[in-house]
Symmetry: C2
Subunit: 353 residues, 2 copies
């Protein structure tokens, strides 16, 4: 077998290259194509190794590893969640990820995933909403106007045709910024002074707040019949956004139940409370929305397969492009068993130079 | 609080920079200093979050994530083990790792760890042997002369004064290469034609073979009284090197019992078979070697704290040096909640350029 060259090199997508890739593809097209990869992988859900993410909790946040594999590719994401980070100019959530070849164990791609996570979370929400939201929904309340809000808005516009947004954030400056950022994308946008006001007339309610605590962003009286709730912000133990009564009258759809029962809104419910796995709906095994009056809830926490899909997508997109660098990440001695000799030869080369 | 600059940047140690760092420090000094970090962290074992590594097994190998944290720093390593990789010119084991700040969740360092793993494995073996090997041992059988063998030899020379090596590998070319690579380091080296021959007169037996199967590198009759066995190669389910009878008459020392019972030589024994945690010996809680006739066995599988120590060490070593690059890994918008705005501003800048 011919030995491939440059076995030491792993393609790397920096933050700047990720931005340039998204801009070159177009944010809306990127979300649409990415949603296709996510949907494809949900459809073949049973071919994935699935484990709840491996979380390391500390006083102010959490660091998580999210691995999965389909037997041909292996992917994992490193992601933190530190709500107080904004005080020091840092992101609440940063992430990076790796896609590898299962047969050799060699990484095929290292990528920033702070931007990519926002995109995949939004794409996943919109994929779920295509099965769960009221038909022809065009109005969405967007509660929490932080780093992920515009991505959610654009995904719902691109995949569902949502073009009317009702924004609310406890920080009016965040709402102003979100509105400004979305200015050119053809939405009708209303800034609201309360969550109560934001949900008025909304067929879809997206909650994407960041506090690490049990908050009550939505109370039961705020959720009318027929609404779809896209609950994105509650995603770790002790961090929820919805009042328990809403959960009790909703049909709840989740990604991976063992993880969602720990991290999602349903941590407020009994361990046996019935939920529907989203993949079964996407695969056509179970119905999504069944009636005009049903309240549907996508209790999104983010699952490893979605990151896997995102890494798979960007790997395909950068092929032949200039949107990556070559990272000297893997030792590649002339003779594979001679790792120490590589060091000796480097030493000789340095001495000769 | 002043906002630090360049929050997007994570220092990155490439393979080349790792080699240059090791060469600049000197391999023996590097092993000695690294052993100090490993010993320090074993001594404060109880301050670490410990979980068995998260393994994804496939037909030809395994991909593992090994996280740990001491509450201030968080580290993880990605490592694969694919014995057939050498056929395609690849390494059996490659690795990279990340060290992060627990308070912010931000990565502080990304490093190659293929070379670093060989160094930390050897340093850990030598640390263990200082407590377990016969006093003044100078002769070591080294069975398996692949990628890790020279590192083991040098660590035992540097930390214990072992200067007589008896080499054996099923592939004589591997033995030749190992011997040649160690030529300048002041060992007396004998190439042996069998494992039986190699162990003759050896006070320490190091097994570091790579097959993913239950092999019997050592049988019971080969192990005399008073010997210390440093069993490095058996490190995943179904991969062992020693005959069970050896285990039954050895005092067995392990890193993290829940992991070693799955991956180590002791997977051959009952779940309740007594073992001693190495950290308790290093911390002075329990004795190491107690007699001249005792057979001691370090059932090494490699644990996350050792990688943590290694990352901590290289982070300290590269401070102020030229042995790293700056990696644009983390999105850093002007305003932390404005991730989407960063994309818009990049787009505007590209359009204006």
């Amino acid at each position: 077998m011919p030995v491939p060259e440059n076995l030491n090199i792993v393609p790397f997508i920096s933050v700047e290259n990720m931005m340039d890739l998204v801009i070159a593809v177009g944010t809306e097209t990127f979300l649409l194509e990415l949603a296709g990869y996510i949907e494809d992988d949900f459809r073949r859900w049973e071919s994935f190794d699935k484990v709840p993410r491996v979380a390391s909790h500390s006083r102010d946040g959490v660091i998580e590893l999210m691995p999965t594999s389909d037997g041909r590719l292996y992917g994992f994401k490193y992601v933190n969640g530190h709500p107080k980070n904004t005080r020091s100019g840092r992101q609440t959530v940063t992430a990076f990820g790796v896609l590898s070849d299962v047969d050799s164990g060699y990484p095929l791609l290292l990528s920033e995933m702070t931007i990519l996570t926002a995109l995949r979370t939004a794409a996943t929400s919109a994929v779920a909403a295509r099965y769960l939201a009221p038909r022809n929904a065009r109005t969405m309340a967007l509660i929490g106007n932080g780093a992920q809000s515009e991505f959610q808005a654009l995904a719902f516009k691109t995949l569902l045709g949502v073009d009317h947004l009702r924004l609310y954030d406890i920080d009016p400056a965040a709402t102003d910024r979100c509105r400004r950022n979305l200015d050119r994308f053809g939405f009708r946008i209303e800034a609201c002074r309360s969550a109560e006001q934001a949900v008025e007339g909304a067929e879809i309610i997206t909650t994407v707040t960041a506090d690490k605590q049990n908050a009550t962003i939505l109370t039961d009286n705020m959720v009318g019949a027929g609404v779809h709730i896209n609950a994105v912000g509650g995603d770790c133990p002790g961090k929820t956004e919805l009042h328990r009564d809403i959960l009790l009258r909703s049909d709840i759809f989740v990604e991976f139940p063992p993880q969602t029962r720990i991290e999602g809104e349903i941590q407020q419910l009994a361990a046996g409370h019935p939920v529907t796995e989203l993949w079964r709906v996407i695969a056509g095994e179970l119905p999504g929305r069944r009636s005009e009056t049903q309240v549907t809830l996508f209790d999104s926490v983010g699952f490893a397969t979605e990151d896997f899909s995102a890494l798979r997508y960007v790997r395909d997109k950068i092929s032949g492009s200039r949107y990556f660098n070559q990272l000297d990440l893997l030792a590649d001695p002339d003779e594979p068993r001679d790792l120490f000799g590589m060091l000796l030869r480097r030493q000789a080369a340095l001495a000769a130079a």
